[in-house]
Amino acid sequence: MRAEAEKLKKFFIKNAWMANIVYPLIGVGVILLIWVIGAAAVGMEMILPTPSRAFEEFFKLLKESEFWLAVGNTLARTILSFVLGFLAAAVTATLSAFVKPAGRIIAPIITVLRSVPTMSIILIAVIALRSTQAPVLVTFLIVYPLLHSSFERALENVDPYAVNMSKVFGVPIYKRVFKLYIPAVLPDVFAASKSNVSLALKVMIASEVLAQTFDSMGVNMQISRIYLDTAQLMGWTLAAIIMSFALEGAVSLLKRFTVRWK
């Protein structure tokens, strides 16, 4: 058993490319296979087009300026709402962790924000705001409480032993912040950011549909749906998936840079 495990370990170390490329590819292959079988079973492009048709439409979209306009707008709005949510969460989580009364005040606000149905935020925002603003507010309100909770938990989990020691030895505040707290919370902050940034994109697209935001991915998907152009809708969906990967990748890159800085 042990020997076998050793062998397996060696195999993976020697064949890192296998673990990093081949297995994920098998995963993608499984999705494509289910898709192909599903499309064949349904047998109607209007309901479920084949992957090849979706990719064809996707590459067709790449050549259109409207596509890039919509992608640019949606991406910019997603990043804006995410950064706003990130900053707000950083501030309120720090307050909650270090100023107990503030924490008590903030806690119920977060709970309320987290339990308000996404749909009702969208419906209210759509009436009150412009079609370009409403999706930003909605995405912010979805992402912010999630980030706040993750950040707060990360701060609470900072090694109390190290914290006490730094107090006892009178380590100056700025040093405590930059050498103890920030390095300690960074992994959790990046993990939370990574999962929330792709959630932000999904929420953004959904609220663009409901807010009927012009020149956006959401409305373009909606229009493809109205015209029963499901293959094109899938093309837009592929674009959204790729954007999601890119956003998560950007967070990972940032992580690499900051870890080096640390």
Binding site: V30, G38, A41, L48, I127, Q212, F214, I223, I226, L228
Partner: protein, 344 residues
């Protein structure tokens, strides 16, 4: 190692099989317990639903058939229902029906039933004497419309194009163009008109009458009239919504069903206009949420005229080619051929 691989493979294959089973699982059952053929008629909420009011109220069905009705939220649900064969007869926007025909050949146009129920309402009257001047006075203003890419949007843009008036989908108003903004349905626009955040909006009856009664707007344009001026159409308005029947029912074996359908649809307009309260009631019982408190005037403004496919062909052609010229994908990529029209 081998075992693990086998288990993984097994799980993956099971997942694939299950998902296919779920996707393909919807089998359709065509007859009820008594051997009568079940016919499902689906209609979107709003003016098209009123076209079915008499049939629903009569609650009769020809010998050998059981007829079910359902009122659904929007045109996209109609499409799905036709595509997965849970609807045998449906009322849908005419261009959507043409799209389904072009993509699958599963349906034919049987008759047109709503000859346009679109109106533009405004908090203020428009300056100018001619249509051209009035439309031009909208520059620098925002016109709200229901559903980007839908019939109201397309027809209005077509009209603006004809008069050479620039427009743009934007939040920013500018003297050089008409700004277009969108909401998902009429019920969203009414509070905005009431608050004054929206000044002009294009709505379909019966939302138009509601807006005029409750939000202080008045009708500034009859889109049907504008359409007639622009296209030189001989008929009243344009064939906004039509009845589509799946080709299986048109093979000659269901003549009794079809003549029952035609009769019910033909008599509907006159009956509905004199029984508005009953119309509201029966449609609500089938799932409509937007048609309570109808009046004769509201129903009349919906332009519910039955025109058989043969007689409507020219008007439908004019309408669809206008949309086609605008953007080919609005009618499914190409103009439908003659077989689209049920020859009876």
């Amino acid at each position: 190692m081998k075992k693990k691989l086998l288990i993984t493979l097994f799980v993956l294959i099971m997942t694939a099989v299950l998902s296919v089973a779920v996707l393909a699982g919807c089998t359709d059952d065509d007859s009820d317990g008594n051997g009568a053929k079940v016919i499902n008629i689906v209609v979107p909420d709003g003016s098209p639903a009123i076209a079915l009011a008499k049939l629903i109220n009569d609650n009769s069905a020809p010998e050998g058939y059981t007829v079910n009705y359902s009122v659904v939220a929007g045109a996209t649900q109609i499409t799905t229902a036709i595509a997965n064969k849970t609807a045998d007869i449906a009322i849908a926007p005419t261009n959507i029906g043409a799209t389904i025909y072009n993509k699958t050949g599963a349906v034919k146009l049987y008759a047109t039933v709503v000859q346009g129920a679109l109106y533009m309402v405004g908090k203020e009257y428009l300056a100018g004497d001619t249509v051209q001047e009035k439309l031009a006075s909208l520059k620098g203003q925002t016109v709200f419309n229901i559903g980007q890419g839908g019939t109201p949007d397309l027809t209005f843009k077509y009209i603006l194009d004809h008069y050479g008036i620039a427009y743009q989908a934007t939040d920013v108003e500018d003297e050089s163009y008409v700004a277009l903004r969108y909401v998902t349905d009429g019920s969203e626009l009414l509070p905005m008109l009431k608050q004054g955040t929206a000044k002009y909006g294009i709505l379909g009856e019966p939302a138009v009458s509601r807006a005029n009664a409750n939000t202080g707007t008045s009708t500034v344009f009859d889109i049907q009239e504008l359409w007639k001026d622009v296209t030189g159409a001989q008929t009243a308005g344009f064939p906004q919504a039509s009845v589509f029947v799946t080709t299986e029912l048109l093979n000659g074996e269901h003549a009794a069903l079809l003549s029952w359908l035609s009769a019910g649809l033909k008599d509907n307009a006159a009956w509905a206009e004199s029984n508005p309260a009953t119309v509201s009631e029966v449609l609500a019982s089938k799932g409509s949420t937007s048609l309570n408190g109808l009046t004769s005037g509201m129903i009349e403004a919906c332009n519910l005229d039955y025109v058989s496919a043969v007689d409507a062909k020219q008007a439908v052609n004019t309408y669809l080619s206008a949309l086609y010229g605008f953007a080919a994908n609005t009618v499914g990529g190409k103009m439908p051929d003659d077989a689209f029209y049920y020859a009876g």
